[in-house]
Every structure is written in C-alpha cells, then in structure tokens.
C-alpha cells in the first residue's frame, strides 16, 4: 500500500498536533496524547486530527481535549458518533462557553449512553428537519432548541434531545412528527384565520394556562387529520408514534379528527371543556402552545407583508391614483397558489417580492386582506432622520480611489458619487494558515484537484487539420470530390483534439462584515483555499476581493488576489488575514468589482459573492429596504454589462427577501457555514462547465 495509509508515529503525530493546537496556547506537551493516538489506524488518526483542527479554531483547549479523549471516544463511537460528539462540544462552547464544552466532552459515558441508547438529538437532525419543513411549505421556518416544543410561527422550537420512545429511530421520527405538527399549526389556522379570532376566544377564559394546555392537545388531534388529507404518509406515522388515543380523548377525536375541520371547531369544543375542571392528558408528540408569542410574531409579519404588497401595488402602472375611484375595483385572484391582480379585466402579475408576501399572507389568513389593495401613496414614505452629522466626521482626509453612484429606491434615482471607495491592503496574516487548512482537508483537496483536472481535460475536436490523430471523413470526401472535378484537393484531412478554450474570468467577492464573525469567516477563508486549489487546476483567470466598510464615505475593498497576481505566499497570507470587520454596504462593492471584471479580456465574466446575505451599514440607512434595493440594482447593472453573478449565502434561515435582493442573479443558500468549504468547488464547477 502507498505511504498515505501508513500509520503515523508518535513523533509525527506530535508535530501535527503542535501545529494544529498552535503549540503556544497549550502549555502541556502533545507527547502523551500522541502516544495514545499512535495506536489508532491511519484513517482514525486523520479523523481525530481533522476534528482537533476544527475544534482548536474555536478554542485550543477543546482541540486539546478532543485529541486526548479521541482514542477513547473512537473506541466507543462510530465515525458519525465521533463527529456528533465533537460538534456537541462545540455547540456547548458557542452556547455556554469553555467550561460547559469541556464538561460535555469529558462525560463520554453520558454522551455514549444517550447516543447508543435511544435519544435523538436536535443538533444531529436540525438541517434535515429544516429542509423537510421548507419542503412542506416553501416558506423557511427556523429551528431552535427550547425546553418545550412550540412555535411562534416563524421559529419551530424543539427540545434539544428526545428520548420519549424506546428506539433512536423512533425518536428521530418523533422529531419529524412534532416539527410537522407545529408547522401545521402555522399553516392550518391554529393562531387564527380569516374567519376565527383565536385571541378573542381566549380572552373569555380566566384559566388561560389550562386553556392553552387543552388547546395544544385538541389541535394535535385536529391537525393530524388535516395533514392526513394531503400528507397521508406523515399522518399515519404520527398515529403510529403516538399509539392509541387515551380513552378520555375519544369524544374530542370524534369531533375534531376530520380532514377539513377548522380551528373554530376546536374552539367550540374547548368551550365545553373549560366548563369542567379536567387537565388534559400528556401526549409526547403534541407540543405546547404559546399563544402570546405566536400572535405577536404573526401580527408583525402580517403587517409587514401587507405593507410589502401595498408598496408593490403602488408601483404598478395605472394603479397609483385609483383609490376610491368608481371604476371596477381591482381584485386579487388566487389561482393554483399564485396570486395575480385583476385590473379592469386585465390580469397583472405581481412583482416577485409582493408575490412572496401575498403567498405568505395566504398561508396566514387564507386570503389576501382587502386593505392590501389600497396602495401605499407616494407620500407614505418618510425619510429616515440623519444621524446628527457624525457621518462625515469619520471621513478623515484620505482621498477615495473611486466614487460610485448608489441607488435610492425611494427617490427612484441614483445618488451621484455617493460612495467613497478605498482599496485597502490587508496586513499579511499567518503564513502557515493555508497549509494548515490543507492538512485538515487532504482528502477533499485531492478530490477537488482530480475533478477539476477532468473538467479542464475536456477536449474539443478540430476538423480539417494538416495533422492529427484521426482522419476527417468530411474533408476526405471533399478532397475526393475536388480531385474528381479537376480542382486541387486540400491536404488538411485530419481531426485533432485540442484543449478547450474556456475564456472565463471569475471574481470572488467576500463579505468581511462584522456579522461574519466566527464560523462564517472561518468558512469563507477555508473556502477560498479550496477554490484556489480548484481554479489553479482549471487555469481560469480569477481574482478575490474582500469588502467591508463604515458608512458611505468609507467603503473598503481588500484585494486578496488580483487578476494578475499568482496564488503565492503573499496571496496565501492575505487569505489568512481575512477577518470580520465592520458593515456590509454591498452595492458599491458589486459595482467596483464589476468594473474590474469588465476590464478582463475573457469572453465570459462571472462574479461570485460569498456573504451572509444581509446588506447593512452603520446608521440604519442601508439597513433593510434601501440596502436590498441598492444591491439588487448593482447586480442588475452588472448583468447589463455582461457580468453574470452568483450569490452564495450562508444563512441558517434562508431569509425570504433573497429572491428580491438577488434580482437577476442566481443564488444558493447554505444552512451551515461549515459546509461551505466542501461545497464551494462544486458550486463553481456547476457555474463554469
């Protein structure tokens, strides 16, 4: 076998550990630990080293502990279990700090017991559950851990661990069932719909807490049946997990378990129950209901989305001055889940963000409320007050390298030369950083190199060549015809394989704003290492720039690799130096990098942004709508100039304004920053092949 499967010896392990643990922070020597690791198989050694490296990025002590306990953990856990153990430690660190993390990691017994026996952990399932819910509704719902399962209609809260059922498999399914029922609460009217005012009903009962407990149980009965209409597989699974209903719920089941029962039926039944004094039975699969939280969040969302619809309507042609006019009233019609506006008998499509808002209103209310049809008048906009003159005080006396216009959606006009752009050199960072990332990702990098080499190797056949590896039959036939006709026959009779001319220039724009602090920043840097590996194989022209800033008078762009620079020690040092800085004024960065990209001779130009997808700047102005509209505009300008953009967004919750924000650009959302380094090369491959 090759050298790469040979076990590492203690001295080699020690060397790598020293490097991963930054030797300095850990006063203990890595010697004892490496002796423990020496006994493992190479594959296991690599696994431990990988996770030591990951953990040490958060906190060197955790890395140290992972290395020390690694052999014992691996003796008891499989690969996935080992990974879950480290991640649980890191999550504890993020949540409660170093002490909690160390405690959790040291208590291997408890971790293994929980895992081996029957408990399922939210941490292990979160991503999958999140996608499941998004599949069900199309509207992203966030997931979070909480002591009791409930939802505020935007986040589904679930216990961090579930062990109610005897097997881990069933507990995982129980998570899915609980999540689906909570989603159903938001989807099927538990918190009110066009016809029922849940808040008013509850106002009648003095024993509010008991009413809510019963409400949760009764709704679990109703919603299971409602789910059964469209998702019979899911309903059957819920039924199996909960087992038979307790006998005293049977009257409720008879009344509520109908596929088209509405919440009003539950409320009527609850009325009868509240006349008595019973407490509801405990059902492991039914979450709780926190009516206050849900109603508050829901009301805020409805207000926000009605506003979005109204604002969009006011921009539709011919709609502006129509309030109260005697002509046909405009109406919204809903067909096949899509909402359109009919205006004087004509069907007008809603712009995408209004479409999304209207869909969301449909989910909440079962209709788009008629008030939405009164467009926000032109006077509705109130300019945000300036922050007392502080802005220009920050300018200092530097001269910007360039000034860029910025789009003000309220004025529907550009603010000329509004943003001051500075190209700022990054100080050299840790020269060993890239090598360390390489060390942690040997397998992935090997894979990337192989696949990108394949991509580059895609050949193209050129016909009618003076020489080549195959005969060109077309040319041969032509030559024969020419010869017969008495003309001179061409000697170019061969087919030759040539490497395909790609003519693609790619620009990577990396978010260095404060909100990327932590995992996101780490993931960005690691991704760049992976990308450079890939692009170096491919030979495409590429550049990398970071961006951040502080108000319009200080928009900073940090060159990491310019088009004409090689991927050398300087560039590697700059990758290491990428760090979370200030704010995210995205539009100006897009404009500047588009300009640089335009100067490239390549036929195809690609701008890839890596960010957490939240344009934002100091002083509120760029936050929210303004920033979204400006960024969108900048991407549109790029598109018009022949630059294609692709936006990679790292965001757990996949905000619903992204389609608006990215406008003409294509984009993808990653729910977990840690996946970015492994996915980025693939993303690029899809864009550029």
């Amino acid at each position: 076998m090759s050298a790469s499967t040979r076990k590492l010896f203690a001295n080699e392990l020690e060397e790598r550990l020293d490097e991963l643990l930054f030797a300095s922070t850990s006063h203990r020597s890595a010697k004892g630990i490496s002796e423990g690791l020496e006994k493992l198989a190479r594959e296991q050694q690599e696994r431990v080293l990988h996770w030591v490296g990951v953990a040490a990025q958060s906190y060197a002590e955790i890395g140290y502990l992972v290395a020390a306990l690694g052999p014992r953990a691996l003796a008891r856990l499989d690969a996935a279990g080992f990974e879950a153990w480290v991640l649980a430690g890191l999550e504890a660190y993020d949540r409660e700090g170093g002490q909690a993390a160390m405690r959790l990691l040291r208590d291997l017994d408890a971790f293994c017991a929980a895992r081996a026996q029957s408990a399922a952990r939210l941490g292990d399932l979160e991503a999958r559950l999140g996608r499941f819910l998004q599949g069900l509704s199309g509207r992203p719902l966030a997931l979070a851990a909480a002591a009791t399962a409930h939802t505020d209609t935007e986040t589904v809260f679930l216990p961090a661990q579930l062990a109610a059922l005897p097997t881990a498999r069933d507990n995982r399914r129980l998570y899915r069932a609980m999540a689906a029922l909570l989603w159903a609460q938001t989807r099927h009217g538990t918190f009110g719909s066009a016809g029922s005012d849940v808040a008013a009903a509850f106002a009648r009962w003095p024993e509010r807490a008991r009413a809510q407990r019963w409400f949760a149980v009764l709704e679990a009965i109703r919603l299971e049946a409602v789910l059964g209409a469209e998702l019979p597989g899911l309903a059957a699974e819920i039924a199996r997990l909960r087992g038979p209903w307790p006998a005293r719920l049977l009257p409720a089941v008879a009344r509520l378990a109908h596929p088209d029962a509405a919440v009003s039926r539950t409320l009527t039944f609850l009325e009868e129950i509240m006349a008595g004094e019973d407490e509801p039975p405990q059902l492991p699969h039914a979450g709780a209901i926190d009516l206050e939280a849900a109603l508050r969040v829901r009301a805020a969302r409805i207000a926000r989305e009605s506003e979005t619809v109204r604002r969009a309507l006011s921009t539709l042609k011919g709609f502006g001055g129509r309030q109260g006019a005697g002509e046909d009233a405009p109406a919204l019609n809903v067909e096949g889940g899509r909402v359109a506006l009919s205006l004087d008998g004509e069907i007008v499509a809603l712009p995408p963000e209004a479409q999304a808002a209207a869909q969301s209103l449909l989910q909440d209310l079962g209709e788009v409320p008629p008030e939405c049809l009164v467009p926000a008048g032109p006077g509705a906009w109130q300019p945000t007050p300036r922050q007392g003159g502080g802005e220009d005080a920050l300018t200092g006396h530097r001269q910007p390298h360039a000034r860029y216009d910025e789009w003000d959606y309220r004025r529907r006009a550009y603010r000329r030369g509004w943003c001051h752009l500075f190209e700022v050199e990054l100080p050299p960072g840790d020269p060993g950083y890239v090598a360390k990332v390489g060390l942690r990702n040997t397998a992935a990098i090997r894979d990337i190199r192989r696949r990108f080499e394949l991509l580059r190797g895609e050949d193209r056949l050129l016909g009618r060549q003076p020489e080549g590896e195959e005969i060109d039959l077309d040319a041969l036939v032509d030559a024969a015809a020419d010869r017969r006709a008495g003309a001179e026959a061409s000697g170019r009779l061969y087919v030759r394989r040539v490497r395909r001319e790609r003519s693609l220039a790619a620009m990577f724009m990396v978010d260095m704003s404060g909100s990327t602090q932590g995992w996101v920043n780490d993931a960005e840097r690691e991704s760049l290492v992976m990308l450079c590996e890939a692009l170096e194989r491919l030979g495409d022209a590429y550049a990398i720039y970071g961006f951040s800033g502080w108000t319009r008078t200080r928009c900073d762009i940090y060159p990491v690799k310019r088009f004409d620079e090689r991927y050398d020690a300087t560039v590697r040092g700059r990758i290491a130096a990428i760090e979370a800085k200030d704010y995210t004024r995205m539009g100006v960065a897009v404009r500047h990098l588009t300009r640089l990209l335009e100067a490239q001779p390549a036929r195809h130009k690609l701008l890839v942004t890596l960010s957490d997808g939240r344009p934002d700047d100091f002083g509120d102005e760029y936050r929210g709508h303004y920033g979204i509209e400006d960024t969108r505009r900048a991407l549109q300008e790029a598109h018009e100039r022949g630059v294609r953009s692709y936006c990679v967004t790292i965001d757990r919750h996949g905000a619903d304004y992204l389609p608006r924000l990215y406008g003409p650009a294509r984009y993808t959302v990653l729910d977990d920053a840690r996946k970015l380094p492994l996915k980025i090369a693939d993303i690029y491959r899809r864009l550029a092949s």
Binding site: G135, L136, L231, G337, D474, V477, L504, A688
Partner: protein, 271 residues
C-alpha cells in the same frame, strides 16, 4: 454548375395523435406563429412537456417533424449536410435542417445552448424574415417554403455562464414559456401517462410540489413532470409507491446524502 445526385433523408410524419394536455394558450400561439411564419423558442425547465408539445403540434398541423438534439460537437455540416462517397461518386446528403427546410417540415432544435456558437449562426438567416438556408459547400441558397417552421428549446434554469443564449439569437424568436402545470392538470397528465389512479397521481404531484419547494435550498431543480410520470409507471408496474418514488424521484434529484435524506422524508410524508 451541376449538383451531384442528392440523397434526401426520410421525413416521418406523426400518424397517431400524441397525448398532450394544453396548459395555457400555447396551442393557439404556436398556430399563430406558424401562420405568420415566425420561429418559436420554447423555454422552460427540464421535463415539463416541451418536446411533447412540439410532437403534438406537428401532428396537429400535419407537418413532418425533424428533431435535432444539440450538443457541443454539433457542426454546421451535421445540420446542413455533407458529401459522401457512394461507389465511385460523391453524393450530397442533406443534413436534418436542410431536409426540413426543403420539405416544409417543423425543425426542432432541442437544447440550443448546447450547440457551438458558430453552429447557431447558420439558423440566423432562417429565423428572420429572409427565411433562407445557406448551404455553403454547394454554393446553394435554399428559400424556406411557407410551411417550414423553426422551433428551438432552451432551459433557463442552467447555472453555467458558458451556456446562455445570445441576444441576437433569442431576439429572432417568439418565446413561449413553459412551466410545470398547475396541480390538477399535472395530476391528469401523470394519471394518463403513468396509468395510475387519480389518487396516486394526486399524491405524486403533491410530492413534486414539495420537492420544488426545495429549489435553491439544496436542489437545483425540483422534480419534473417527467420524473413524476416515471414514478407512476413504476407504480403501475406493481412497485410499492414509496420505493418507486425513492428510485424515480429522490435518487434522480440528488446524490448528496443529506439531501436524499430529506427527500426520503418527503416521500414518506406523502406515501
């Protein structure tokens, strides 16, 4: 100048009415375009019925249909024609495009973005009011008869910047936009094409909808009508529904183990 003998490829006419379920006003639009001799661009995601639509229209208009699947080594000669040596003679053979022009057929260039840029250029004079095909090798200029119609297709969901249709090409065409049909219509198609009962078809369409919700959140595309039909066909053949969906839909959509996990969850939610 005297041309050598020609070998014309056989052009097939579609005898039996293909099953096509209209979704909007595409049939009327296509007929209008045909009457006005305008070329048509069909755009839409994979497996939403573009090819089937063209087959149906060819039958309806009683024109032969010539379909060319474009790929990146497709040369102009592959479209227009070339000389062959037969016995001791060189013989000209029309390519599919030339044959379609001469016969007044419908020529359908499927996935036009896959073709090389220089190849797309030969269709330009055919696709504007000149309606001419230049056969350079023979120095011949063929004027398209009124019956000839050029149709191309294009999937805008592609992410690659290398695969975009040039404005000078696309602006010659009347564009018909296709998408997956509305749930009840799609269920009808799945029931008909897959020979399954209405309830099974309805559930398959529901599953399709759930996967389409994941577009952009881990999937490039949700399940196409084609995939739903495939699953239906397996079910009609006696495969257990969840197994059929896993094989025909979930595994066909993604290789990513995390994503296939979610897709399995969705399959089990519906079946």
């Amino acid at each position: 100048m005297k041309f050598p003998t020609s070998l014309a490829p056989e052009l097939a006419r579609i005898e039996r009415e293909p099953y096509y379920q209209p979704v909007g006003d595409e049939v009327a639009l296509f007929e209008s375009a045909q009457r006005r001799r305008l070329p048509v661009l069909l755009k839409g995601p994979t497996g939403c019925g573009k090819t089937r639509f063209v087959e149906y229209m060819a039958w309806r208009l009683q024109r032969p249909l010539v379909t060319v699947a474009c790929h990146d080594d497709l040369t102009t000669a592959d479209l227009v024609g070339r000389y062959l040596i037969v016995g001791n003679e060189t013989v000209w053979v029309d390519g599919p495009l030339a044959a379609a022009v001469r016969a007044g057929a419908i020529c359908y260039l499927d996935e036009i973005v896959e073709a090389r840029k220089d190849t797309t250029v030969v269709i330009h004079p055919l696709a504007d009011n000149r309606r001419l095909l230049a056969i350079d090798k023979r120095g011949e200029l063929v004027a398209a008869p009124d019956d000839f119609m050029l149709v191309i297709s294009y999937n805008p969901g592609y992410q690659s910047v290398l695969k975009e249709i040039k404005p000078s090409t696309r602006q010659r065409f009347v564009a018909l936009e296709f998408d997956y049909p509305e749930a009840t219509i799609e269920a009808g198609i799945v029931a008909q094409e897959g020979s399954v009962d209405a309830e099974t078809a309805r559930r398959l369409v529901k599953l399709g909808e759930l996967t389409r919700n994941l577009k952009g959140a881990g999937l490039d595309e949700g399940a196409s009508t084609r995939l739903l039909v495939h699953a239906a066909q397996l079910i009609a053949d006696g495969v257990e529904p969840a197994t059929a969906c896993t094989a025909a839909i979930a595994r066909a959509l993604s290789d990513d183990p995390e994503m296939t996990g979610t897709l399995d969850d969705l399959v089990h939610a519906v079946f």
